[in-house]
């Protein structure tokens, strides 16, 4: 059997297929359909200091080969999450990466610090790229200096591995990846959703209450693959790739472009067991080609 294991940001993963933040909740709901013992890691839905309710409906709509969402990061707050949700996740033999966000730089640091010494948390993914909340999120991820301040603050607040989730809504993503590396981030994950909008031609109203939303699904995959390839060639930092991964072939594309791991997002909505199918598919893909490790694919695109 080919070796699917990988170490990224100092986190040892049994395989490089993760569940993307915001598409697997805090694990409870997807666990009934997907064996969490088999996934490389689960990246939990974004957590902030205090509970937040999320955006008013309608929150989602389908677009060609994709969907727009403006969920607005509903979250239970860090205290409840540690008390009630981490114990559930600890039952599984997998890695838990907690996605965090804040309204201010200090809040990012405070949330990150809350996980110091919390058993069952293996790393933090820092969301500086949510397009759907007024404060925080994308305001940090599209401004180089704000990105620098968030990464620096989080880095000082925790000894856990730090992964920064980047926004694709910038002209050139490479400087953002460089800032993450300079400030001591262990890895980056990319891409978050692309800012989009859809209008109902009967009512002439936006199809989301938030007016704009984040585009995800197969439609954004070429954008994600391009950005991964650009960053892989320019910055020496491990990449967790995501953006429309739905099949084994999609995942292979990301590895060839330069990711060390992949995360499955929107595809969990179509088939909550799809990550397991992709893990099995990757094993077969390598075996059929006589490649002994997933590492043989990373950045191997022939230009």
């Amino acid at each position: 059997m080919p070796d699917l294991s990988i170490e990224i940001a100092g986190i040892k993963l049994r395989n490089p297929v993760l569940l993307a933040s915001g598409t697997a909740g805090y694990g409870e709901d997807i666990a009934r359909y997907c064996d969490l013992n088999r996934v490389g890691a689960i990246i939990t839905k974004g957590i902030a200091l205090k509970p937040t309710p999320g955006n008013p409906p309608p929150r989602i709509c389908e677009t060609p080969a994709g969907m727009l969402n403006a969920i607005g990061l509903p979250n239970v707050g860090v205290d409840t999450f540690i008390k009630e949700n981490i114990p559930f996740l600890k039952k599984f033999d997998t890695r838990v990466i907690v996605n965090i966000f804040g309204a201010t730089v200090d809040e990012y640091g405070e949330v990150a610090g809350s996980f110091t010494g919390v058993e069952g948390v293996h790393g933090l993914e820092v969301n500086i790229s949510c397009p759907n909340i007024k404060e925080g999120g994308i305001a940090f991820g599209t401004d180089l200096e704000a990105t620098r301040r968030v990464v620096r603050t989080v880095r000082r607040s925790t000894t856990l591995p730090v992964i920064i989730k980047l926004s694709p809504n910038v002209t050139d993503i490479i400087p953002f990846a460089m800032v993450c590396k300079d400030e001591g981030a262990d890895a980056i994950s990319m891409i978050n959703t692309l800012l989009g909008m859809s209008i109902d031609t009967e009512t002439w109203k936006p199809r989301l209450a938030n007016i704009t939303g984040g585009l995800s699904g197969p439609a954004i995959k070429p954008v994600a693959v391009r950005m991964v390839w650009q960053v892989y060639n320019a910055v020496d930092i491990p990449i967790i790739g995501m953006g429309g991964i739905t099949t084994t072939g999609d995942a292979v594309e990301f590895f060839l472009a330069g990711t060390s791991a992949v995360a499955v997002g929107t595809a969990n909505f179509l088939n909550p067991n799809v990550s397991i199918e992709i893990i099995d598919g990757l094993g077969r893909y390598l075996e059929e080609r006589g490649i002994d490790s997933i590492r043989g694919l990373i950045g191997a695109v022939k230009i």
Binding site: E28, P53, P56, P57, I60, E62, A65, N69, P74, T246
Partner: protein, 265 residues
Amino acid sequence: MRARVISNLCIKGSYYKLTIKPSTSIRAIAGQFLMIRPAAYQAFYEPLLPRPFSIHRLSPDGNLEILYKVVGKGTAILARCGNNDEIDFLGPLGNGFPVRLTKGSSGEILIVAGGIGVAPMLYLTESLRASCPEKRVIVFEGGRETVDLLCVEELKKIATEVILATQDGSTGIKGYVTEALEWYLHKRSSEMQATVYACGPNPMLKRIAEIVYPLNVDTYFSLEATMACGIGLCMGCAVKRKGGGYFLVCKDGPVFRGETIDFDF
């Protein structure tokens, strides 16, 4: 889970009935739903997301029936599925309607269906007849015109009474189904107990909540919302909760007590 299409027929207008045979047997209660995706179209991502449909009926031979109206891309593609085509589905999902009512309560059961909202109500009527055989079950069914009234003959066989309403007056009372309900409630004593089960467009449910507010009536509403997954992952199917915050239709519902929902969204 996989199922095979047994039949997928246009009943009338843009209304269809899909019958599928699941690979393993399914038990479900009235008001639960399935997330459905025709297998043949998945490679093209058209549609990308599965669609939620309430279970219309479970047949004795283990088939699942879905009653649906073609309204957009997802239902148009579903309508193209032919016999023996494969369907992927998740379910049964959600809580369903409570059908075991307080014993000895003197109230009647009032079932209100608007348009395609009738889909889960035939099975609900059958379930209530079985669980509360002593109670009167009155069904109110409304639609824009006669073509929008489905299952009328089947409902007449099992309900104590079926009251119809159409907006163009072509069948039954001329007006909204909520006007028929209001008229019915006003001619009885306001002290009388009743349990209202309703499924239909949000403005209909909102109006029912207003009508029954001063009365001694329990309400169970089945809500509809756009959802991507049906199992609590996407958090897309939010509805406003009275007093703040949101429910997820897929996980917390789709059936809610009427007074817990804030319809002003």
